[in-house]
Symmetry: C2
Subunit: 110 residues, 2 copies
DNA sequence: GTATAATACCTATAAAATCTAGGTATAAGA
DNA sequence: TCTTATACCTAGATTTTATAGGTATTATAC
């Protein structure tokens, strides 16, 4: 299990990265994340849907309803141009912070 | 500048790491972080002090007032045993999430 | 054929965290 | 003497998040 803050910090970059590769619907994203992370990250629906809605309002992603053969409806999300730019920034920021932490952790403890 | 979420996620591990090496007072921590991060992270007092108080309440750190030669008082913080354990967990969690992101970012974009 | 699990979406509201914008006091330097 | 730097603090408005639900359809197990 991952702490609340770390969860909050990683959610957006993960969603952006996943959707940059392939359009997906919410439920699928959840299972995808569980699988990719090997269980490190277990997202709930109640946590993901509001995030997707917010990101859509911020125009980072856009949705589209699609009907699947079996009659079930799914809301597919894809990245907007803004979303792509945001992803680059998020990556960059994450790496910057990671470098600070790596540096700190590399120092021999006194 | 680093996003709010990333800031929130990195604050605790950074404080724990810094205090694991050396006891410090709040004001000093702020300047230390600015310096170590090369300006990537710019903490404000209004953001740090409440965090320090919360962490002390959680018994991760403990404080001690000291008088310095020049007559100024400083509140020095050091890690507790719990704090040391927490640091190990924080490191571990960060690395886990970092691995997930690295993995995602290493894949060639479709 | 019926009950349960899985799929797939949604949100109101309570609870928690954060940020702003202040405040105090002393010492050093201009 | 005035300003800047040092060094701490917090009330309260705002924002976020988590909980715990809700709906509806399809697939599977009994």
């Amino acid at each position: 299990m991952v702490s609340k803050n770390l969860m909050a910090a990683s959610t957006k970059p993960i969603i952006l990265t996943i959707l940059a590769r392939e359009e997906m619907y919410g439920y699928q994203i959840i299972h995808n994340v569980t699988q990719i992370s090997g269980g490190t990250l277990e997202w709930s629906e109640g946590m993901l849907y509001p995030v997707l809605h917010r990101m859509e309002k911020e125009k980072l992603i856009q949705s589209q309803w699609r009907m699947v053969e079996n009659g079930r409806r799914r809301k597919y999300y894809g990245l907007t141009e803004n979303g792509r730019k945001e992803l680059e920034q998020e990556k960059h920021q994450w790496m910057k912070v990671h470098k600070v932490l790596s540096k700190l952790w590399a120092l021999t403890p006194s």
